[in-house]
């Protein structure tokens, strides 16, 4: 997967990704994508491009467990989030929806850097740096590779044994 880095800081909570109050009017990712990061990066939603990926510091997606914080990101066409660490509910919602969560050292990735994500590694083409990434355990990989829990359950009707 080749992506362009859109850089955020530490402790980006789910209300900053998509404000709780926006859920009142619609759960449609195509509607919610208009309000992505409106509190902390008001220009982001209008300018997001198909190859963009989120690159964050520690504790990305902290706060509420609301799943729209993942589906709104997917709605904007983003397929991966790289972070030094994730809040656990965000991490599991990402896995369950087929948004690739990559845990790696993001400290030297800059806005607009071109990255290539492969299993166990992120390669920064802009700076020619290889960054080690944590491998995904089997159950998580099976769900992401299926395209998320919906696709997995449609195919198998249950979890892996």
């Amino acid at each position: 997967m080749r992506i362009r880095a859109r850089v955020f800081g530490d402790d980006v909570n789910t209300d900053y990704i998509i404000a709780s109050r926006r859920k009142r009017d619609s759960l449609d990712p195509q509607v919610l994508r208009q309000y992505l990061f409106e509190e902390i990066a008001p220009q982001f939603a209008a300018g997001v491009q198909a190859e963009d990926a989120i690159v964050a510091g520690k504790n990305f997606g902290c706060g509420s467990a609301m799943e729209v914080a993942v589906t709104a990101v997917l709605g904007a066409g983003i397929r991966a989030v790289l972070a030094h660490s994730f809040a656990r509910t965000y991490y599991r919602n990402a896995v369950n929806n087929g948004l690739l969560p990559v845990i790696c050292d993001t400290s030297r990735i800059r806005e607009g850097d071109r990255l290539r994500i492969a299993s166990g590694e992120v390669y920064n083409e802009t700076t020619a740096e290889a960054i080690a990434a944590e491998p995904l355990p089997y159950i998580m990989r099976a769900i992401i590779e299926a395209g998320g829990l919906v696709a997995y359950f449609r195919r198998h009707g249950d979890f892996p044994a």
């Binding site: 009142r24 902290c62 979890f159």
Partner: protein, 426 residues
């Protein structure tokens, strides 16, 4: 068998595997809560997964608590959809006004020692106070539980939190939690379990009443924790015997001697002082005296952290000692459940709050997450018994939220500025 933490033991029992920190296991779920914030999406996922019937409807509960009462046509329709789904599948639904789902799970004894109780809302961690492995899940997880009765979980490493001593007068469990958030940081326990306990010579944590343990378990997610768990003791079972539950189903778990902890943290409760979290991070915590004189225009008493009977009694004691609410301060009371509200009505506490000019909200999540209820205006400082103070959290990004104990919130209501509650308890 190697020594295990409480969390490892419960997830081993529920997965049928000998599970240790770092393993990813598929577990049977004993109780799952969905709210109006998460269930409509779960129903979408359920349908998209090809779900036709709910495997164990008796293990599921649904609560209409985030939009209580529904502030718009759209949210009213979400409630209608949940009511129809619950009726069609034989699932218990707590309707508008019954209260916050987490409080109701605890009040009805659905989270039991040694059980696996999850909720599609982050504050499900609260049931860990009852020795359940309890954690927040997403809507897709809830849909998969509807279909299969199971969930995948990574077994967390555990941080042992040893609390010793006794809380001084004017200092409360909320102060312990805030001090711990300061010490660990907002992600200090990410992916990990907090396992609370004391020492044989100073039981500390185990001297806390069940209602107080709920506050610590509830706030464990604000340090990033997957769950925050206590051992079960006579206080746990006294509580369970007092609610309509099935305590003989309990399978209480204690840590093995020699269980592995990734970190050990100690706190001496005797030395703790009232704390306050400043906007807009739960771990931006200081001694409340360092923030004294910060003006406050709204005081919020409620939520799954600070909306139980003892919270209101503690707040009322300070309000009465201080002579009432300062001019220019709006006091909002939104009890965690109808049962809490009824108790306050019966013992006269509610009448006293009304006489003091409090606005009484519907039992539920209220304005904690800005979905309904009293939204603060621009540049308003709110002091709240809640668990979160992110920018925009209560529905207005131009307001600032401070978090403190019920007594500290009441002290601010009396003075119109942040104040030390111990000044009113002499």
């Amino acid at each position: 068998m190697a020594a295990q933490t409480i969390s490892e033991k419960i997830l081993s029992a529920k997965s049928g595997k000998n599970a240790f920190a770092g393993d990813v296991v598929v577990c049977r779920v004993d109780c799952a809560l969905g709210t109006d914030g998460s269930t409509p999406m779960a129903i979408d996922y359920f349908e998209a997964m090809g779900g036709a019937r709910v495997l164990n409807p008796g293990s599921i509960v649904l609560a209409l608590d985030h939009y209580a009462p529904a502030p718009s046509r759209h949210t009213a329709q979400l409630h209608q959809r949940m009511r129809h789904f619950a009726a069609a599948h034989g699932i218990l639904l707590w309707d508008v006004g019954e209260g916050i789902g987490h409080q109701l799970v605890v009040e009805t004894g659905r989270a039991l020692p040694g059980g696996l109780a999850v909720g599609a809302d982050s504050h499900a961690v609260m049931y860990g106070a009852l020795n359940a492995f309890a954690t927040g899940i997403g809507s897709s997880d809830l849909a998969a539980i509807f279909i299969s009765g199971k969930i995948w979980l990574r077994v967390p490493e555990s941080i042992r939190v040893t609390l010793t001593g006794r809380l001084p007068a004017g200092v409360y469990p909320k102060d312990i939690a805030l001090a711990l958030a300061k010490q660990l940081g907002a992600d200090g326990a990410a992916y990990k379990a907090l396992e609370f306990g004391g020492l044989p010579e100073s039981p500390g944590a185990m001297e806390l009443d069940l209602e107080d343990r709920l506050v610590l378990s509830n706030l464990s997610v604000e340090m990033g924790a997957k769950n925050g768990i206590f051992a079960a003791d006579e206080k746990t079972f006294a509580y369970l015997n007092g609610v309509s539950s099935d305590p003989e189903m309990a399978d209480p778990q204690t840590p093995d001697p020699g269980a592995r902890y990734c970190r050990e943290v100690e706190m001496d409760l005797d030395r703790l002082t009232p704390q306050i979290a400043l906007p807009h991070c739960v771990d931006r915590v200081m001694d409340i005296r360092e923030s004294a004189a910060t003006p406050v225009q709204m005081v919020y008493l409620g939520t799954c952290t600070g909306g139980r009977v003892r919270d209101y009694r503690q707040a009322l004691a300070v309000l009465k000692a201080g002579g009432g609410v300062a001019p220019g301060v709006q006091l909002v009371v939104a009890p965690a459940s109808r049962t809490v509200l009824e108790t306050l009505a019966r013992d006269g506490t509610l009448a006293e709050f009304i006489a003091l000019g409090a606005v009484i909200g519907t039992p539920g999540c209220g304005s904690c997450c800005g979905t309904c209820g009293s939204i603060p205006g621009d540049n308003v400082n709110v002091i709240s018994t809640a668990n979160r103070n992110f920018k925009g959290r209560m529905g207005n990004g131009a307001a600032s939220i401070y978090l403190a104990s019920p007594a500290s919130c009441a002290a601010a209501a009396v003075r119109g500025v942040v104040a030390d509650p111990r000044e009113f308890l002499a």
